[in-house]
């Protein structure tokens, strides 16, 4: 980490997006995480994705729980409102925030302790409800802030820095997310920005529950031999099922692609996801096929990454609840309070 404040000045030649913003406008405060932490790479990918999508930073609400990963929303999108909730409870706070204003982009950031242990119930239920959000789990298999205990996503047989061997079965967040009804499920690796940025962009534009499980090695407590969440291990066992290219709605698809190896998926907002198939047998449109493949790769000791499941026509919680199109937090008194005469009528009914 560093304690030097970033200067506000930047190079005049820095690239700007459609809104006239540079990368710097999407940055936050200086990270206080360890140097080389995978989480900082993810923050950088979020910044890049938002910059490239021309998102107004204040239209994003970033929410998190407790842990190293949950600190990161302070380190990107400094012009966005942030909410650092209690441990494991980000999903409920995000759900409530989303109910109040359906027009913002909700970015939930969590970790494996936050999502797979203390907040496992909330992780599960917010996906069942189909909350329109991007749920990023920065997954390192370890409790960093409390110095190196196993988390619930640590693989069985994985070795801790202290030498302890994990005897418990791991929780696979992506398989669960697919089973629970998430409509966009992907796994990335913090060390592969090229794969990660398009995944984040696609997740943001997806109008449903988008889950991104990002393996993000802990350089301090889980980057040693014997760990299955170290940089070396993940690089060696990463099996990308596809390569994603995100094309915004207004752009025409001009790049040629080889018949059969690239799949084109049009999202609800008109944007296009181009999936270069790296595994010919992988079908991201089928929950059953996706789950089978994940099980298969897991058995083989590999980590499947890429866009694992996508329902391009998702439903969301507001649809289920049939809420009005305008945000609930913008309703005026007349739209909320039935008033004095209506209350008199109520009184009459209880006499």
């Amino acid at each position: 980490m560093t304690y030097i404040t970033k200067p506000k000045l930047h190079h005049p030649g820095l690239a700007t997006n459609k809104l006239g913003f540079t990368h710097r406008d999407y940055e936050g405060r200086i990270s206080t995480l360890c140097a080389g932490c995978g989480h900082d790479s993810i923050s950088a990918a979020v910044i890049q994705a938002c910059f490239e999508l021309d998102i107004e930073p204040h239209r994003v609400a970033k929410l998190s729980g407790i842990g190293c990963s949950s600190k990161t929303p302070d380190y990107f999108l400094g012009q966005s409102h942030g909410f650092n909730a209690v441990h494991g409870r980000m999903p409920s706070v995000l759900t409530g925030a989303n109910l109040a204003n359906r027009e913002l982009i909700y970015l939930g950031v969590s970790g494996d302790g936050d999502s797979a242990s203390i907040g496992f119930g909330q992780f599960v239920h917010c996906l069942r409800r189909g909350v329109n959000m991007v749920y990023i789990c920065e997954n390192n298999g370890v409790y960093g802030l409390t110095k190196g205990q196993f988390s619930a996503t640590a693989d069985k047989g994985s070795k801790a820095k202290s030498g302890a061997i994990n005897a418990d079965s791991p929780i696979d967040l992506v398989s669960l997310a697919i089973m629970l009804g998430a409509t966009f499920v992907a796994r990335g690796f913090s060390g592969d920005r090229k794969q990660l940025v398009p995944l984040i962009k696609a997740a943001i534009t997806h109008q449903g529950s988008a889950v991104l499980d990002i393996i993000s090695p802990c350089v301090t407590f889980n980057n040693h031999a014997g760990s299955t969440k170290s940089f070396d291990f993940v690089r060696a066992h990463n099996e990308a099922v596809n390569r994603l290219d995100y094309v915004p709605a207004e752009k025409e698809i001009t790049v040629d692609y080889k018949e059969g190896s690239t799949e084109i998926v049009r999202q609800h907002d008109g944007s296009v996801l181009k999936l270069a198939k790296l595994r010919s047998d992988y079908d991201p449109s089928s929950r059953v096929a996706a789950l089978a493949h994940l099980q298969d790769r897991q058995e083989a000791g590999e980590i499947a990454t890429g866009l694992l499941f996508l329902d391009p026509k998702p439903e969301d919680l507001h649809g289920h609840l049939n809420t009005i199109d305008a945000p609930l937090n913008r309703l005026g008194q007349d739209e909320l309070c039935p008033g004095a005469d209506a209350l008199e009528a109520v009184n009459a009914e209880y006499r």
Partner: protein
């Protein structure tokens, strides 16, 4: 033994088996009395069970208008063999016993000092109906028919009510009327002049309404502008969310798009429920949850968060018997300390104590204004007695020009105009800062909400002086709350009184009657009904103005007294606790008896000295 003779002043208690269909028949009885212009106070005493366990319904008939429980029973309708012995034993000497006399009962099962009102209900219904379910169900309406004749309820009042109740299901009107007449005619033929308890038409009900506290609270949420409700089912709070949904379906559906101007989410647990409430309030929509003691226990961490990060929230704690699972279907006022100091670390919360459904409505709506004004959780401390019984109360009021107070929220225009924004700065001197809502402005007013220590700009800090300054401001904000919460209601004795009595919440009904009785017995008492925490200064003045103060509560540990001692630095010796916590609502007789005994003792002591 002289049979009890009374007009418009007696207690009828129904002893039934849960799930036997008695509830609607018994309620019909209470409503019929109301239709005659005679006030009633009805209480459901029911088990945590769907079918089979004992349940009671008590109707206090009071021409004087006393709305608490009196205590004692003048007429028992004993329909439950499981509880027969206890039910019969609980009748006041000279009282009456109405029972199913189909099978003869040994004399030992009956009492000589009560008047027997035998009605062969099973036999009559078996003869009249062939369907087994109907045979069982209509027994209830049949005993209501008998009671109507015995007490002099106008048959037309009941007949109208039956017709109203089954509007839309007209097929059911005729068999119900038949059952009613069956009982009515039987009593007329066989029990003429057997009962000296009588009802006489009067006009004491006036324009009052008859409604339960949970429905009233839900209406208060609709009128108070709540847009989001997140909840988890728990007795006795469940129907708050259900009634909120019902009334929103009526008042909050956009007439053009047919879409909802509200959202109700049944959460996976109470922790998620309060999380959603905080998320929605943080984002500018009024949101609430309704729960009971166990839910409040689970929500503790979030309450501390909301206190410290200053996020508004409205919480209905419909109190039931604790600790632990306790008595889920019985009433208590035993969550005061839990709610007042909810959360770890130094925390305090605003509590409101409604006395009846009318105040449940009023305080529900007020709670949203207070929560947004003060930017903190506000607890409406209802209880099962208020929540799940229908109470006769003054009609709800909503002033035509009443405006929702949305508190200190800076808009994009404010920020553009150059107003200084610092999320936790006290600019106005009332210790209440300004907030902004997410998405307000592209470059101004964003901040990070966190439960970790923060400075005036909401930045993380571990600097001790900044932390202390923040905690001190929160204390000062709590001082500000004192003048905003509902103020206590004082009722002075006719002559100067040495003793005072403090009470709150659902104790009110019984207390009003007890105060009247004590006054007639020559005991002078000034009374103060506390309606909120933090306590306004005049609560302390009241205590200091009296030699000693009775504190009437429905819990074991004198929780309000502890709060007073704790927060107002009052010598505990000044208080005399009057505690009732067996799970049934407190009675006027209990209060009168215990206070009179204490005062007699004090007088005797004085005389001896």
């Amino acid at each position: 033994m002289q049979p009890i003779s009374a007009t418009n002043d007696f207690v009828v208690k129904f002893a039934n088996v849960n799930g036997s269909g008695s509830a609607s028949a018994n309620e019909l009885f209470a409503r019929a009395v109301l239709r005659m212009g005679v006030p009633v106070a009805s209480r459901n005493i029911f088990p945590s069970n769907i079918q089979g366990l004992p349940t009671w319904y008590e109707v206090r008939v009071s021409g004087e208008g006393w709305l608490g429980r009196r205590g004692g029973v003048d007429l028992m309708v004993a329909m439950n063999p499981q509880t027969w012995d206890k039910d019969v034993a609980s009748i006041d000497p000279g009282g009456y016993l109405l029972y199913d006399s189909t099978k003869p009962l040994p004399a030992a099962k009956l009492r000589k000092d009560v008047t027997l009102l035998p009605v062969p209900l099973t036999e009559m219904c078996n003869r009249a109906y062939s369907d087994p379910r109907q045979r069982q169900l209509f027994k209830n309406i049949t005993y209501i028919g008998a009671l109507a004749f015995l007490l002099g309820i106008e048959a037309t009042a009941v007949q109208w009510l039956i017709a109203e109740q089954f509007e839309g299901k007209e097929k059911l009107i005729a068999p119900n009327l038949q059952a009613f007449n069956l009982g009515y005619d039987y009593a007329r033929e066989h029990l003429k002049n057997a009962c000296l308890l009588k009802l006489a038409r009067t006009d004491k009900v006036g324009n009052r309404i008859f409604i339960g506290g949970n429905e009233a609270a839900a209406l208060g949420c609709v009128w108070g502008g709540a847009a989001v409700c997140a909840w988890y089912p728990i007795t006795p709070s469940t129907s708050v969310a259900e009634y909120f949904t019902k009334h929103c379906e009526r008042y909050r559906v956009d007439p053009v798009s047919k879409k909802n101007r509200y959202a109700v989410v049944q959460a996976e647990d109470e922790i998620a429920a309060i999380g959603m409430v905080l998320g929605a309030n943080w984002n500018g929509a009024r949101a609430f949850t309704a729960t009971s003691g166990p839910g409040i226990s689970l929500m503790q961490e979030f309450f501390g968060f909301a206190y410290y990060a200053e996020v508004p929230a409205v919480v209905f704690d419909v109190q039931r018997g604790g600790p632990s699972t306790g008595m889920p279907t019985r009433t208590q006022q035993s969550d005061l300390l839990l709610a007042a100091y909810a959360g770890h670390g130094d925390t305090k919360h605003v509590l409101l104590f409604p006395e009846d459904p009318r105040e449940a409505f009023e305080f529900a709506a007020a709670a949203f204004d207070l929560a947004e004004r003060l930017q903190t959780p506000v607890f409406v401390m209802s209880d099962l007695d208020i929540a799940m019984n229908d109470w006769l109360c003054k009609p709800f009021v909503w002033e035509k020009d009443r405006k929702l107070d949305r508190g200190k929220v800076m808009t994009a225009e404010d920020l553009e105009a150059g107003k200084t924004f610092g999320r936790y700065l006290d600019v106005d001197g009332d210790a209440i800062p300004y907030r902004t809502l997410p998405g307000t402005h592209p470059t101004l007013g964003a901040y990070f909400t966190r439960g970790s220590s923060h400075d005036g700009q909401a930045r993380y800090t571990e600097e001790g002086t900044l932390y202390v300054a923040g905690m001190q401001r929160l204390l000062k904000k709590f001082e500000t709350a004192k003048s905003l919460v509902p103020q206590p209601v004082e009722r002075s004795a006719k002559e100067k009184a040495k003793h005072g009595v403090i009470y709150y919440g659902s104790t009110s009904g019984a207390m009003n009657e007890a105060l009247d009785t004590l006054e007639r017995q020559g005991f002078r008492l000034d009374a103060l009904r506390v309606r909120a925490f933090p306590f306004p200064e005049n609560v302390i003045d009241f205590i200091n103005a009296h030699e000693s103060v009775f504190l009437v509560e429905q819990n074991r540990d004198a929780q309000l007294q502890k709060l007073l001692v704790n927060e107002c630095a009052i010598d505990p010796a000044r208080f005399i606790s009057i505690l009732h916590y067996d799970g049934t609502p407190i009675t006027a007789r209990f209060i009168t008896g215990t206070i009179a005994d204490r005062l007699k003792l004090a007088k005797a002591k004085e005389a001896a000295e």
